[in-house]
Structure formats: structure tokens, C-alpha cells
């Protein structure tokens, strides 16, 4: 019984950073900018939140600094790719590599393998919802999570609203789908690309804070472990729709929860289970595109 409860709780727990990256990446995806820098931005959020909290002893400052740094990275990314039309893959890759390099340098300077806060405990961040907490299963799923976790799930609805019910959402989609049409309307297409990327950067900073500060009160380098790329996979599987992309993010979160919990009983072979999320991702991507092109008689899928 507890095994199931743990898996359910962990599914939510592990889905959160992926979900946040998905919600952030969706707008860039819809604006036709492939933002592979989600990973780097998330790591920057994790690193800066911990570093600033550690140096100042103030958690709130850690939150704010992480958000600010991620927005700055988003701004650099947009400046290079949107304003100066740089290749998104190359610039994204550069960001993904430069962030762990800087973090590594700072860690080395501090002569430490990680950053941890001794005066703060993981349980400080957990919110227990009174009544629901006592209900079996449901309590496992709903209660005992961090603030950003709750925010991310409510975020699905807000992002949906933003995408389908506001001008901003419509314009971002127009920019991505038919740039010519957008220009003809007199829309500043670059502005919408910038905003889409910055929104992504903001969400990634939250993902990073959640990953390092809220969940473990610990930063180790490269702790994002490809979650940003898993998020990109989820966005593609859900074709940029907030709800279906979010569902894929949760599936991938559940796969990791399964891996972690099964690993507990596996002894030395535990590391083997770590491949589960990645294998699940590969299989899901293949199945999604197989279903999409199942009945196609046209050669080359065109």
C-alpha cells in the first residue's frame, strides 16, 4: 500500500520540474522557436537560488535572484536568436554548456562539491493540507508538496487560458504559424518571440528553484539530468497544447517515480532502473508518431 502511495507522491514530485519546463517551453514552441536552452535555464535557476540563499541567508532573495538570472539568460537567448537570427540550436547548446561550466567554476572556488543550507530543512517547504492529508491515496497525491509544485499544476490552467483566451496567446500562435500574416497585421513579431522566450525562462527558473531549493535544499552540478530535454519531448508529443503536453510531462514524471521506487528494492542493480524514464520517453515518442502516420499512403509522409 505504501509503495503505491510513494509512487503517486513521487510522480507529482518528479513531474513538477518537467511540467514547469513544458509550460514555459510551449509558448516558444508555438512561436516557432525551438528552445533547447530549457535545460540550461533550469540549471541556472537551481544554482542561483541555492547560491544566493547560501550567501545571504535569505530564501526570498534566492527566489528572486534565480528568476532574475533566468530572465537575463532568456533575454540573451532572444537577443542572439530573434534579433540577430542566430541558430537556435547552437545558441541553446551554448547556454546549456556554459551554465554548468560557470556553476562548476564557482563550486571549485568554494572548494565544495555541492551547496547546501544547514539552517533550512526540506520539510520546511512542505505544505500539508489539513483534511485531505488524512485521506489515503488522495492525500498522497495532493498533500505535502512544495508551493511551486501547487503553482505548477494550477499553472496548466493559467497557461491554457493565456494561450487560447487572450490576444497574447493568439498572436504568439499567429507569429509561429504564419509570420507573413502577423507582419501584415502590423504585429511586431520579434516582440512576441521575446515574450514567449522570456515566459519560458521564468517557468524554467521556477523549475530550477523547485528542483534544488525546495525539494532538496541542495545543489550539485548537472542535477537537472536532462529534464529540460524530456520537457521538449513532452511538448512535441502534445504538439504544444498545454493540457496534453502537461499530461505527457506527468507520464514522464511517473516513469521517474517508478524508477526511483523500484530502485529502492533493487540493491546494486538500482542504477539500471534509472534508465526507465528515458526508455519510456523513447517509446512514447515513437508510438505517438507511429499513430500519427499510421494510415499514411503518401511516400515520405508528405
Amino acid at each position: 500500500m505504501n509503495f503505491l502511495g510513494n509512487i503517486l507522491y513521487d510522480s507529482v514530485y518528479h513531474a513538477t520540474p518537467i511540467l514547469l519546463c513544458v509550460l514555459g517551453g510551449i509558448f516558444a514552441y508555438k512561436a516557432n522557436v525551438l528552445n533547447i536552452a530549457l535545460e540550461g535555464m533550469m540549471l541556472a535557476g537551481a544554482f542561483v537560488s541555492m547560491l544566493v540563499s547560501y550567501l545571504t541567508g535569505n530564501i526570498a532573495l534566492g527566489y528572486l535572484a534565480a528568476i532574475a538570472v533566468c530572465l537575463l539568460i532568456g533575454l540573451i537567448f532572444s537577443f542572439m536568436t530573434v534579433t540577430y537570427k542566430g541558430n537556435v540550436i547552437v545558441v541553446g547548446l551554448a547556454i546549456n554548456m556554459v551554465v554548468p561550466a560557470i556553476a562548476g567554476f564557482v563550486l571549485q572556488y568554494m572548494e565544495s562539491a555541492n551547496i547546501r543550507l544547514t539552517w533550512k530543512d526540506v520539510s520546511d517547504f512542505k505544505i500539508h493540507i489539513p483534511v485531505i492529508d488524512k485521506i489515503p491515496i488522495l492525500g498522497d497525491i495532493l498533500s505535502g508538496h512544495t508551493p511551486i509544485t501547487y503553482l505548477s499544476f494550477i499553472g496548466i490552467f493559467f497557461i491554457w487560458l493565456l494561450m487560447y483566451r487572450t490576444k497574447f496567446g493568439i498572436y504568439v500562435r499567429v507569429v509561429g504559424e504564419n509570420e507573413d500574416a502577423a507582419r501584415n497585421l502590423g504585429l511586431n513579431t520579434n516582440k512576441y518571440r521575446y515574450l514567449a522566450i522570456l515566459l519560458g525562462a521564468f517557468c524554467c527558473s521556477l523549475a530550477g528553484i523547485n528542483l534544488a531549493l525546495e525539494r532538496m535544499v541542495l545543489f550539485t552540478n548537472n542535477m537537472t539530468a536532462g529534464r529540460g530535454f524530456i520537457a521538449i519531448a513532452a511538448i512535441y508529443c502534445g504538439q504544444g497544447d498545454p493540457v496534453s503536453s502537461a499530461l505527457y510531462a506527468i507520464v514522464f514524471g511517473a516513469a521517474r517515480a517508478l524508477a526511483v521506487n523500484m530502485g529502492l528494492y533493487a540493491g546494486p542493480a538500482a542504477a539500471l532502473f534509472d534508465v526507465i524514464p528515458y526508455v519510456v520517453m523513447g517509446i512514447v515518442l515513437t508510438i505517438v508518431s507511429m499513430l500519427k502516420y499510421r494510415n499514411q499512403k503518401v511516400r515520405g509522409f508528405h
Binding site: 499567429v174 504559424e177 504564419n178 500574416a181 502516420y293 494510415n295 499514411q296 503518401v298
Partner: protein, 513 residues
């Protein structure tokens, strides 16, 4: 007073003068057609009129007052709206969202604007608009699910919603079916009667005669003539456009349709689309030697799929295709070409040419395995260039730089590259799909003559076209496609109305084939 007038309007691209001192004036509430061959400078002129290009010199006057447009939005503010040949619509949005794009209505909350869009109000506004101008379209449908004709209505409504007084349409009938063309003309005439001024750019003279009040002919960036439509004829306009007498419809004489040997046959071919729905139903055709078989039909009745199946871009679920006695069902395009099938594809830049490659490279596309251009896997540059030069000369392809990119060519000349390539590789059967779409009058005449010559040499042509006149004047026999099936066959001598009926799906019981 003219509602819109240009005075010595000139546009230069570096040394090239696209528009040279254009003077035109359009009266309020008239339909003005601007005709000219491809590359004559019509589009440049229109782009200046609606603000996409800045004139190099000259003035634009609206109701006598000079205006300067910085952008299309500026032009719209002055009451000039443009409907482009390639629609600027967003497929995943609905009709009403597309119409209101850029001028959305927000919900108000306690007298203040909220960030959310008021969908009900938007839908109602669009419904009113559709009613007012007697259009027929469902505002809730997604644009990706509606026909091209309806997409065009959406574009027009988009402009009407913004209260434009002058509507410019660029080649509006290029993508429409005959019925949709009639609809469009009715719509435009009604708009004129409601007080709008309409400028139509086209090179289809029949439509000019039917639609317009006055015509301006442009040739090589200059205005050649202004005439009232009632005082001119198709012949005269064609002559003005090309600068010489042209044969509008080549006559299909000397045809020797011998009912003897079958060169190409298609038997009971079926295929399905992505949703497993059958889109071709038991198509059977036989093309004899020395014959042109025309396939007529309103666009979207399975011709595209049939072309894809016959040219190796799509596979069949059932049926058999035979070329000169050998089975070529589901063969890939290169095998088809090796076995003697020439392919003039439906969309020249999608399947026929590679836009970013040079003219010589495009001249061997699909045939680069031929021994004379490719020896042991290495392409022979000089031979290829010589080949291209010979095509350019023989097929009168007008190029500025014979070794430059193919995209520099106008539609007609690009099409001639394909025709040259396919004919010079001596196929036995030619599949010609929309061979003259988007091609100027001079080139149409040339291409038609080439196809007839090929036929007269004893080879076969399968001609698939949505231009009924083209089918009628070239074919020895006509098959009509309707909803993915061959609904009937007719002789080109039967009256147009009979084929029109077949195209609309009415079965003719007694035929004299």
C-alpha cells in the same frame, strides 16, 4: 474625381526598373482590372499601393490628396485593403478569429477592459458581417478545414471588417474552381454595387471581360493602354499584353488517335488518405499511342491523389498500373522515369524544381543517373551546363543568368525548364499535370504546341488540368473525375455544358464517345 490615382509612380530595384512612371486612375465604384504577363510589374505596383513597398519616386493620391504609406496597416487606415494570392491566414484558428485578428474584442468587466477575449461578441460581429455582404461561411469552422474558395472569402471579409473602401485582389481566381470563380465574381459585383472600389490583378482575360468596367494593360513596367472593357476584346488585350498576335487556343489538328495499342493503363486503382478513408475509387484509364487523354474535373475531386499515385509519390491499396506492358504499380519516381514516363508535376516548386539550385542542376533533376551527365557516380559539370544551354535555346527559356538559381525565373520560364527536361529525356508516356498553371499567355501557347508535337510523334499524354479550355482544346478523349472516381468519358467535340454537367457530378446516361 478618381478615388485612387498614381502619378509617375516608379519603383527601382537597383538598376532594374520594375515600374516606370505608372499613371493610373480608378473611379469610385468601379471594378478595374490590371492585366499583364508574369513579370510585367503588376505585383510591384500593387505592393506600393497597399504599403508593402515604398515607391522610388512618384505619388499616390487618394481622392486627390497625396498619401505616403509606411506599412500595410497604414494603407488599411486609409481604406485600402489587399487580398493576396497566397492567403495570409492562420490554419489552426477559426474563421472568426482570423477575421478579427489584430482587432480582437475584449471582455469588459465593471466598465473596464479585461485581458480576456469576448468570443460571443466576436462571433456575433462576424455573423453580422457575413449577413451584410451575403457571404456563406460558418464563422466557427477552422480555416484548415475549409476550401480555398472559402479561405478567399475569409480574406475579403477580413478587409471588409476593417472598413476598406478600395479592395485590391491579386490573381484571385488562380486557385479557385469554376464554380468558386462564379461565386467570387458575383460577390465582387455586389461589393461594387454596395459602394466599394475594386482593383483586380489577373492575366485571365475571359474573367477580365466578364468582371471589369475598365482595364489597364501593363507591359515591362509601363502602362501600355487604358480601355473600357465594353470597347475591347480578349484578342486585343492579349495582343497588347504580349505585343504580338497570340493564338489563345491552339487547335488540335492532325491528331491520329489510333485505337490500336495501349501505351499506359490504370486498372481499378484505389487508395486511402491518412484517416483510412478511400479517396480514389476503382480508377481505370487507358491511354493509347498517339493520343492525349484529358482528365477534367473540379479541383479537389481526387486529381491530386491520382497524380501522386501515378507518379510514385503515394502507394495504392488495390489496382494495377501498366506502362508499355510492364507493371509499374507502386514504383518509385526514378523507376518510372527509367521505364519511359515523363512527369510534369502539379506544383512546380514542390515536386518539379529545387528553388535553391541552379538552372543546370534543375535541368538534370530526376535524370542525374543518366550516363552522359554522370560517369561512375561523378557529375560532369561541363556536359550539364551544355545540356542546360541547349534546353534554354531550344525551348526559348528567358534567363538573365543561365547558371544562376532557378528561382530567378518567372512561372512560365520555370515551367519550360520542366517541359524541356522531361521531353528531352524521350519518354514514351507523359503525365502532364496543370502544365500551364501560373504561366503567361505566350508560354501557354508554346507549352501546348510542344505537347501536341509530342503526341504527333506517336507518344501518349495523360493531361490532368482544372482548366477546362485546356482539356477541351488539347485532348483526343476526355475523362471526367468526380469525388475520386471517373464519372464519365466524352469526346472533345461535345458541348462544354455536357462536360460541365459531368464535372458537377451528373451522370450522362447516353454517351456518344
Amino acid at each position: 474625381m478618381s478615388i485612387i490615382q498614381t502619378v509617375d509612380l516608379t519603383k527601382k530595384f537597383d538598376a532594374f526598373v520594375a515600374n516606370d512612371k505608372i499613371n493610373i486612375s480608378v473611379e469610385p465604384q468601379e471594378i478595374k482590372c490590371i492585366v499583364g504577363e508574369n513579370g510585367a510589374g503588376k505585383s510591384t505596383l500593387m505592393n506600393m499601393l497597399y504599403g508593402a513597398l515604398r515607391p522610388s519616386s512618384g505619388k499616390i493620391l487618394i481622392e486627390g490628396k497625396e498619401v505616403v504609406f509606411k506599412s500595410p496597416t497604414d494603407a488599411i487606415r486609409h481604406g485600402i485593403g489587399m487580398v493576396h494570392q497566397h492567403f495570409k491566414l492562420v490554419p489552426s484558428l477559426t474563421v472568426y478569429e482570423n477575421i478579427l485578428l489584430g482587432s480582437e474584442i475584449n471582455k469588459t468587466w465593471k466598465g473596464r477592459k479585461s485581458p480576456f477575449i469576448d468570443r460571443d461578441a466576436e462571433i456575433q460581429r462576424v455573423r453580422d458581417l457575413i449577413e451584410q455582404y451575403h457571404f456563406q461561411i460558418d464563422p466557427l469552422e477552422k480555416v484548415e478545414n475549409i476550401s480555398v474558395g472559402l479561405c478567399q472569402q475569409v480574406e475579403i471579409l477580413k478587409m471588409l471588417y476593417r472598413n476598406v473602401r478600395i479592395l485590391i485582389l491579386d490573381e484571385p481566381t488562380a486557385v479557385l474552381t469554376p464554380q468558386e470563380v462564379d461565386r467570387l465574381m458575383d460577390n465582387l459585383k455586389e461589393l461594387r454595387n454596395n459602394g466599394k472600389t475594386i482593383i483586380v490583378i489577373t492575366h485571365k482575360l475571359r474573367e477580365v471581360m466578364e468582371l471589369s468596367d475598365s482595364v489597364t494593360v501593363i507591359k515591362q513596367g509601363k502602362v501600355i493602354g487604358n480601355v473600357a472593357t465594353c470597347e475591347t476584346s480578349e484578342q486585343e488585350l492579349a495582343q497588347m499584353m504580349v505585343g504580338r498576335d497570340v493564338v489563345l487556343t491552339v487547335s488540335n489538328e492532325n491528331g491520329t488517335p489510333c485505337g490500336c495499342e495501349v501505351a499506359y493503363s490504370v486498372k481499378d486503382v484505389c487508395t486511402v488518405n491518412g484517416e483510412q478513408k478511400e479517396i480514389l475509387h476503382d480508377i481505370s484509364l487507358e491511354v493509347h499511342k498517339g493520343e492525349i487523354l484529358g482528365i477534367a474535373g473540379v479541383e479537389g475531386n481526387g486529381q491530386s491523389e491520382l497524380i501522386k499515385v501515378l507518379t510514385g509519390l503515394m502507394t495504392v491499396t488495390k489496382g494495377k498500373v501498366t506502362l508499355c506492358g510492364s507493371d509499374v504499380t507502386n514504383a518509385w519516381p526514378d523507376e518510372l522515369r527509367k521505364k519511359g514516363l515523363g512527369i510534369i508535376p502539379e506544383d512546380r516548386y514542390a515536386q518539379g524544381l529545387c528553388r535553391d539550385m541552379t538552372i543546370p542542376e534543375n535541368c538534370i533533376a530526376g535524370y542525374f543517373g543518366n550516363h552522359e551527365v554522370c560517369k561512375s557516380g561523378v557529375l560532369h559539370g561541363r556536359t550539364i551546363r551544355r545540356l542546360a544551354d541547349s534546353y534554354i535555346e531550344k525551348y526559348d527559356i528567358r534567363v538573365a543568368d543561365p547558371e544562376g538559381e532557378i528561382s530567378q525565373l518567372s512561372g512560365g520560364n520555370a515551367q519550360k525548364v520542366i517541359i524541356a527536361r522531361e521531353l528531352e529525356n524521350h519518354p514514351k508516356v507523359m503525365i502532364a499535370c496543370q502544365p500551364t498553371r501560373g504561366v503567361d499567355i505566350g508560354s501557354i501557347e508554346f507549352i501546348h504546341k510542344q505537347l501536341l508535337k509530342f503526341r504527333n510523334e506517336g507518344y501518349s499524354v495523360l493531361l490532368i488540368s482544372s482548366e477546362l479550355t485546356e482539356i477541351m482544346s488539347l485532348s483526343d478523349r476526355i475523362a471526367v473525375m468526380y469525388k475520386g472516381a471517373i464519372i464519365g468519358e466524352a469526346d472533345p467535340s461535345v458541348p462544354v455544358e455536357e462536360i460541365g454537367l459531368l464535372m458537377a457530378g451528373a451522370k450522362v446516361k447516353e454517351r456518344t464517345a
